[in-house]
């Protein structure tokens, strides 16, 4: 029987997914080698269905054959296991709680508002949806100033949990801006986040896993075509 080398750390994911990117950035921060198992759009592998039977979603981290699901749970797991690498969560319990709070806000409230822009029908609805996203970003601008305390990232001098939680959406933010010909991250309203976004995307742990906006925009078109109902005859 031929020997198969399976990496001890495998990640089931897909390049366009911001949630998958979170896990990849965390692994990169810790300099952990992993095997990336790319899922195909429209079909779910047996391994994915077996490893995440509850949600059947990516990302799934498989560490020594044990699956861990949910992107932020995975990021915290990575931080816990590879404790000798640079810290992802703040060491101070209060700062840690604040980072968790805003990460949860981003996923529970802010990201649905971002998806809301694509779903909005008509100019008025689109405008309202965009305003909601920007309002959320203004809150996050304020959080950035409080958490970062004048430094480059939410996490301080280096990328941390909240940077990962928000930064993973930058590709999709840029696609949305491009497709709707407007700015969500605006110098006028969120100047610090604008600067932060560039620094985040340029970071060593991020740049190889952040998809190019054009490539993502193409993918978005494919996705929308796939799920849009055919026009009535």
């Amino acid at each position: 029987m031929a020997a198969t080398t399976t990496s001890d750390v495998r990640l089931i994911g897909a390049w366009p997914s911001p949630f998958v990117m979170r896990a990849r950035i965390a692994l990169n921060i810790k300099s952990v080698d992993y095997e990336f198992l790319q899922e195909q759009l429209g079909s779910k592998s047996d391994l994915l269905l077996k490893s995440n039977p509850v949600h059947k979603k990516i990302p799934v981290l498989i560490h020594s054959d044990r699956p861990i699901c949910e992107s932020l749970v995975i990021v915290q797991y990575i931080d816990d296991v590879w404790a000798s690498g640079p810290s992802i969560l703040p060491s101070d319990p209060y700062d840690c709680a604040i980072a968790r709070f805003w990460a949860a806000y981003i996923d529970d409230k802010w990201f649905p508002s971002l998806s809301g822009i694509a779903r909005a029908q008509g100019e008025e609805a689109k405008k309202a949806a965009i305003e909601q996203v920007v309002e959320g970003l203004v809150l996050l601008e304020d959080a950035f100033l409080k958490c970062g305390k004048g430094k480059a990232f939410f996490g301080g001098d280096t990328i941390g949990y909240l940077d990962i939680a928000l930064g993973c959406y930058l590709g999709w933010i840029r696609v949305t801006e491009k497709m709707n010909n407007m700015k969500l991250l605006d110098e006028a309203k969120t100047p610090n986040l604008v600067t932060w976004a560039d620094k985040f995307c340029g970071d060593g742990s991020v740049k190889d896993v952040m998809p190019e906006t054009d490539k993502l925009a193409e993918f978005a078109k494919v996705l929308m075509a796939k799920f849009r109902a055919p026009p009535p005859n």
Partner: protein, 236 residues
């Protein structure tokens, strides 16, 4: 009558209510660790300006104020408490077990919670049937994991020991039961379908820490009935 303990949380306040399961989570955690705190009761129909100031994003209880810094969202507060006062730990120590605990807490507070609300508040036979099925499915997923997560012990923290998932599941084991009763449903109490869950509920509710820190059955049923009447789920 806050519990005085060996640990004094200097300058520690909890804004909550005596009906909210999420508020009780924090009381259980603080009392488990023997931490002294001041309970500030909120009237949710007339929220205080302090609450609105400290939790502008969600405007909800619980809010913990420790050394003049405030936190909201019960699961986040639980982790903060566990990280600040390390004795009588709530979350498991092992990273994989922690990950599983966090995963299931999220599932309980999102998918199971959504299914529970739909089951309680749906109107119309077809909708009710569908909602009951979703709730049953979600609870079945939890049931299926219970032996593995408790490692065969009576509670998630150990035999007779309260842990994170015990605290998290509290609303399902107690509050939801009264909602079910008021709505005329009977989902969670089926011990043939959910033996592990029913057994866990029995052990959980027997713990003095929990037993002495719950709204009374009479009060919960009364409030549940009121809510059901108000939304037209039941008639007088």
């Amino acid at each position: 009558m806050r519990m005085g303990g060996s640990e004094s949380g200097s300058d520690l306040k909890l804004m909550g209510t005596k009906l909210s399961p999420f508020s009780y989570r924090i009381e259980w955690a603080l009392q488990l660790k023997g931490i002294h705190y001041e309970f500030v009761e909120e009237d949710l129909k007339n929220k205080s300006s302090l609450l609105l100031q400290l939790n502008p994003v969600y405007k909800k209880v619980p809010v913990l104020i420790h050394e003049q810094k405030s936190l909201s969202e019960s699961l986040i507060i639980l982790e903060y408490i566990d990280e600040t006062w390390k004795h009588n730990p709530i979350l498991p120590k092992d990273p994989l077990e922690r990950a599983h605990a966090r995963f299931w807490a999220k599932f309980v507070d999102e998918k199971l919670y959504e299914a529970a609300n739909k089951a309680l508040f749906s109107v119309g036979e077809a909708e009710q049937a569908k909602a009951n099925e979703s709730m049953a499915e979600a609870l079945q997923l939890v049931e299926g994991e219970m032996m593995r997560l408790t490692k065969g012990k009576t509670l998630f923290g150990g035999d007779g020991i309260i842990g994170y998932l015990d605290i998290v599941l509290g609303w399902v084991g107690y509050w939801f039961k009264f909602g079910e009763e008021a709505a005329g449903l009977n989902i969670t109490t089926d011990s043939t379908k959910y033996p592990a869950f029913v057994s866990w509920t029995h052990h959980f509710l027997q713990l003095p820490l929990i037993k002495n820190n719950l709204p009374t059955p009479g009060e919960l049923l009364r409030v549940s009935r009121l809510v059901m009447l108000r939304c037209g789920k039941i008639t007088e």
